[in-house]
């Protein structure tokens, strides 16, 4: 069990408000990702839940019990740190079993649990090695092993993949998601990488400047961003946000259209522009089109297309996938 509820949680460092009035419910067994640009307070929020920082105001509830003033140990959560924070003088076995040892569990029981955790994470051959003798991915797995062995109410991940290379990151991403599903334990995962957020989360919490911008499933955020910030943050390449005269016919201050929702043609309707850069990725082609009066518009066309830099093209936005925002940056529905 591990339902985590935040009620009006605030955190100030001196006069600086890092977190202002965050209320949030993390359902038992769900995988929630906190995502946002650096400095948005997502790590601080995670540390507040962990108990490594004290909340200035508000309440944190785990399974209905108020843990706001409890030390980290008593909250029954475990955390995977960005730097892994392995104990360098202990073997892998010692690292994974440390929490159990602190809990006063008998030795042979610790041994059993550590062996089981190591087996799930393919760490069995390395149990007697020191962390410095392991590769980055192995260290990462030891850190995860340390978290799962205690069978916590919830896992907290603080940008756990940011120290890995791109290929390994994709593998670990899948491994973590699969592990979480098979254990069924609540997980909160902090990242600045919106691809990680989109691929792993049941629910994404988009944070900006210490407050929640939108909460929703990955596709909700993609299809119906609540405001300009979420619209610009979720999706890669970024949504084209166009204001001024172009937006006026749509009765909006700003319109947004994702690169994949633009129909590119040589002689169709829409905005006329010149391709300034074409990125051919094989699976997709990204076109950066300079449209007079609109600006630089990114368009994504599936597969290999024959457009090249310098060509004139027409961009036709798909009206059903067009997002409209008012002056305050809030989405206009209907």
């Amino acid at each position: 069990m591990g339902k985590i509820v935040l009620e009006n949680v605030q955190k100030h460092f001196g006069t600086v408000k890092v977190i202002s009035n965050v209320s949030l419910t993390v359902e038992d067994g769900s995988f929630v990702v906190f995502v946002g640009p650096s400095g948005c307070g997502k790590s601080t929020l995670l540390r507040l839940i962990a108990g490594l920082e004290d909340a200035t105001g508000g309440r944190i509830l785990i399974d209905g019990a108020d843990v706001t003033d409890l030390p980290p140990t008593k909250r029954g959560l475990s955390m995977v740190f960005q730097s892994y924070a392995l104990y360098p003088h202990m073997s892998v076995r010692g690292n994974i079993g440390f929490g159990l040892k602190m809990a006063g569990m008998p030795k042979d029981e610790i041994r059993k649990k550590v062996d089981a955790a190591a087996a799930t994470l393919n760490l069995t051959p390395y149990l007697d090695r020191k962390p410095r003798m392991l590769s980055g991915g192995q260290r990462q797995r030891v850190a995860i092993g340390r978290a799962i062995v205690r069978e916590p109410k919830g896992f907290l991940f603080d940008e756990p993949l940011s120290n890995l290379d791109a290929a390994l990151r994709v593998n670990m991403r899948i491994e973590i998601a699969r592990l979480q599903r098979s254990l069924g334990t609540t997980a909160i995962y902090v990242t600045h990488d919106q691809v990680e957020a989109m691929t792993m989360a049941d629910k994404i919490v988009v944070l900006n400047a210490g407050s929640v911008e939108q909460v929703g499933s990955p596709l909700e955020l993609y299809d119906r961003p609540a405001n300009l910030f979420v619209a610009g943050f979720i999706g890669s390449p970024k949504m084209n946000l166009i204001g001024g005269a172009t937006a006026e016919p749509y009765q909006a201050a700003t319109i947004g259209i994702r690169p994949e929702h633009l129909i590119v043609s040589r002689d169709g309707g829409g905005w006329a522009g010149t391709i300034s850069v074409a990125e051919h990725l094989g699976s997709d082609t990204f076109l950066y089109v300079e449209v007079p009066g609109v600006g630089l518009v990114t368009a994504r066309t599936p597969g290999e297309v024959s457009f090249h830099a310098g060509e004139r093209v027409m961009l036709q936005p798909d009206p059903a996938r067009l997002h409209r925002f008012d002056k305050q940056g809030q989405a206009i529905r209907g």
């Binding site: 980290p72 104990y87 202990m90």
Partner: protein, 291 residues
């Protein structure tokens, strides 16, 4: 390739004078000491000269004072090591916490290390431990106790106290910096794992300090085996030989008994003993220094 070879040759050539001077600086006194240790060379009996064989060694090693000095040397070294390492860790833990005026407090804690041994010993002898007008005596009389004549009644303990006071800052400084290099996330991880302050110290901090403690022990031992100024200034090795260590015993033979041969033999013995201690130490704690 050729450039590297030339650079290396040049580097060697440039280094040579320094190395040669250092080598001579070390080897000449050592050889002279060994040479004198086999000579009859006593300034009080100048007519007695010539090769002495192992007489000087026999005389030095069978002198009852030698054994006392030997044990005194070990006692001083070990006691000061224990006091400074334990005290240094405790002080380091204290100074690692945030307090107002941190900078000044840290400088004050480090300052005894900047005071030369002679001055420190004089301050302790005259201002603190003197049974008539020392501060300890004043405190004792205020509390209704008889003042203690520290240097007369507890000479070795007094020496240990003075030397430990001098070396405590060094240990504190090294151990404090080592503590500060402990990764904050590691402490937090241990906290999440349920470690309280005591187990955090035993399982995380202490292993992290192992290397620093080794450095403190090795460096301090080198100096503690040859404590001299503090003894000369305070007790003069007495009463009797109660606070004489090997360094002081050698000084005693050479400059009070004018026995150059005997003192040289003592010097060689001291070098050998220091090497034995060094071998033990490196065996015992030196493995911590391997990365």
């Amino acid at each position: 390739m050729a450039a590297t070879v030339n650079t290396r040759k040049l580097a060697r050539a440039m280094l040579t004078p320094a190395v040669v001077i250092l080598f001579i600086w070390m080897i000449v006194p050592l050889l002279l000491t060994i040479w004198y240790s086999f000579q009859n060379y006593n300034l009080l009996s100048p007519e007695n000269t010539g090769f002495a064989g192992f007489m000087n060694y026999k005389y030095f090693l069978t002198d009852p004072a030698f054994f006392q000095a030997f044990w005194n040397t070990l006692t001083i070294t070990l006691s000061v090591l224990v006091i400074t390492v334990v005290g240094g860790i405790l002080l380091g833990l204290l100074l690692d916490q945030f307090i107002y005026g941190q900078g000044i407090v840290r400088i004050l804690v480090i300052s005894p290390f900047f005071i030369m041994p002679t001055v420190a010993a004089l301050v302790w002898k005259n201002m603190l431990m003197d049974p008539n007008y020392g501060i300890f005596a004043w405190i004792a009389t205020r509390l209704g106790f008889a003042p203690v004549a520290w240097l007369e009644n507890y000479p070795l303990f007094s020496i240990i106290l003075i030397v430990a006071w001098q070396w405590l800052p060094f240990a504190t400084l090294i151990l404090l910096t080592a503590m500060q290099s402990l990764d904050e996330e590691q402490k937090e991880a241990a906290g999440m794992d349920g470690a309280n302050f005591a187990s955090l110290f035993v399982y995380i901090t202490l292993p992290h300090l192992a290397r620093a403690i080794t450095v403190v022990i090795l460096i301090e031992t080198i100096f503690l085996l040859s404590v001299f100024a503090e003894i000369l200034v305070t007790t003069g090795g007495g009463p009797g030989y109660a606070s004489t260590n090997i360094a002081y015993l050698i000084y005693h033979q050479a400059l009070l008994d004018y026995d150059v041969g005997g003192a040289s033999a003592g010097g060689v013995v001291a070098v050998i003993l220091a090497n034995i201690v060094a071998i033990f130490l490196v065996r015992l704690v030196g493995k911590n220094l391997e990365a």
